[in-house]
Point group: C2
Chain length 358, copies 2
């Protein structure tokens, strides 16, 4: 049809499966295995439903203020969005307007090239080294902007603050985005670098460590000028993006710091235990600082394990992509969920080694 | 700073004031004066808060299905977004990729030119006639797409299905978007034209007639192919845009049709009554089919009335724009709110006519 000629054609991002089945072990989209802070339920019940008839505050001020207080910045340094994907998409549109390619790692969050394509932003990928680390020196080449996650996904590997600063030092004239979706599980945030670098934007999310993927809350922190530009673009796109429940309940998640530390601590402890078990079974992996482990087995192909797990209603993530096709990304669930996963793998590997088909 | 060179600079949309004060009469952003359907509160209280830890369904299937059933289309013909602004922004990005200008009325929703600027889409405006009607013949010129609201905003004037079809007949090769944000207050939807025109996209919202501006729900209905392209772009932007509360509570708003008809009926009755009163006081206005009246007074400048109302904590909307600077857009509130507005105006006009300053 003729009207199709003017359609923006894109290859969309493919998210992890979200099976509707109950009673599955869902370790494929890096959600938190624990519920949101207990106060969230209480606050939701107290919410004044009549006020849903009104537009929510377009700047989500209550939430921006709670985040500013928590991270010791000013509210003008905080921008909130509908999940960190919304924040990142806005940042791509706002800051990556150069003719020069933006740079990001070859193995990374698979939405970056999708946004670049969507907004017609040229890009170049920089290969991670053999140990899956980012090589700061790669980011010295001419570019129109830089983005990388820290810890990186799907490797889970965290980079030191020194590495991050090396990249910033070499790039004072473009915006550098550090995507810290997984930072609360043991990574080091670039927040201390904010005072020194006015071109640094740090993006975080409520979907992992704050157990609120279902509410869609992401945010970023940066220089006030940077945030101002982001707001201009956001207000040219949709004035009211974050709904009332997200604003009200999000604040509660930030306030309950004890609960936040408790669940992230539990996930880290489970992760470390699972690392030991997986190693024992012949898996190897970058030393994850995130809420997932990116593992490969010494004998059994990842695609085979992926299918076997899936049949057993254990969902993990697998990509048919260069360099990573023999890896599984396994979200850290509860201890009970991980025990079921480990028991299944143990049995599967044993049978496999005996040359039997399962 | 050097990094600012690559920043996308835009003149953002300016939304109506959202004063935080209580006890004001808020007739400036076309919200519904009645609360959402009673079932919404109940459902919200029953919601399983633990499931907020999980990503919501990315296609908001429950809501798309409820809308499909209500409007007698297939779920594949429905796309939902974070308010109709989200849906419209996605539609601009998806469908208006031509070098030719898109067309919309000179007096219309003031976000259209903002989106065009944001996405670097050329555009041309077509003047409404002297009675504020769209002239279908204007839309016969070469173009890259068409968008108009019906009823139009801020005039409130509804066009006949015949006029809409005339525009579609002359434009089979581009996407034609009819923005029906206000259709539930007496306009005629273009839905019956969907079977005949595969390039027609109809956009609606829960923010006005369904009393849910605070939840951010918009949707559009069109040919499956059109919706498919829209989904591709949406999934290249943000997989999970609509949060769990919006999906769950939105369904309830669609299901309670009795309540929906009751509140829209009440608003229409109030509007008709207010029209009579305003006329009596020397106001004139296009014959609104929406939940607002776009009125000008025979003697007193709109800007003066706007300021006087504002001082009395009655908020209406006023624009300093060509053709409409002497008009006020007054949202239809409850009968009590409108009585306060009318009483204020009556008194103000009387004093004004006596040559006194207030």
């Amino acid at each position: 049809m003729k009207w199709e000629e003017n359609v923006r054609k894109v290859v969309p991002y493919v998210a992890g499966e979200q099976p509707r089945k109950r009673n599955i072990i869902k370790l494929n989209t890096n959600e938190c295995p624990y519920p949101p802070a207990p106060g969230v339920k209480k606050l939701a019940e107290e919410m004044e439903y009549a006020s849903l008839r009104l537009y929510p505050d377009s700047g989500a001020k209550v939430l921006a203020e709670a985040l500013a207080e928590y991270y010791h910045v000013s509210p003008e340094q905080v921008f909130v969005g509908v999940g960190s994907d919304d924040v990142l998409a806005m940042a791509f549109m706002t800051f990556f307007n150069s003719e020069r390619p933006i740079l990001f790692p070859d193995v990374t969050y698979s939405f970056y090239d999708v946004w670049a394509d969507l907004y017609r932003i040229p890009y170049r990928t920089c290969p991670l080294d053999e140990d899956w680390h980012i090589r700061p020196e790669d980011y010295g080449q001419p570019n129109g902007g830089i983005i990388f996650p820290n810890p990186n996904a799907p490797t889970g590997l965290a980079e030191s603050l020194e590495s991050v600063e090396k990249i910033l030092e070499a790039n004072r004239d473009v915006v550098v985005i550090v995507d810290e979706a997984y930072v609360d599980f043991g990574g080091t945030s670039a927040l201390p670098l904010l005072e020194k670098y006015d071109n640094l934007l740090i993006v975080q999310t409520f979907s992992k460590s704050r157990a609120m993927a279902g509410l869609r809350i992401g945010f970023c922190i940066g220089n006030e000028k940077l945030i101002g530009y982001l707001n201009d673009v956001k207000f040219s796109f949709n004035s009211y993006t974050m709904n009332l429940p997200a604003q009200v309940l999000g604040v509660e998640a930030v306030r309950d710091d004890r609960y936040f530390k408790e669940i992230t601590g539990k996930i880290v402890a489970t992760r470390e235990r699972v690392k030991g078990e997986l190693k024992r079974m012949g898996f190897s992996f970058p030393d994850s600082g995130a809420n997932f482990i990116f593992a490969t087995h010494e004998d059994i192909p990842a695609s085979e394990l992926f299918e076997a797990l899936r049949k057993a209603d254990i969902y993990v993530r697998h990509w048919n992509r260069p360099r990573i096709s023999n890896f599984l990304r396994i979200t850290i669930g509860t201890d009970e969920q991980m025990d079921e996963l480990l028991a299944f793998l143990e049995k599967y590997i044993k049978t496999w080694k005996n040359g039997e088909k399962i």
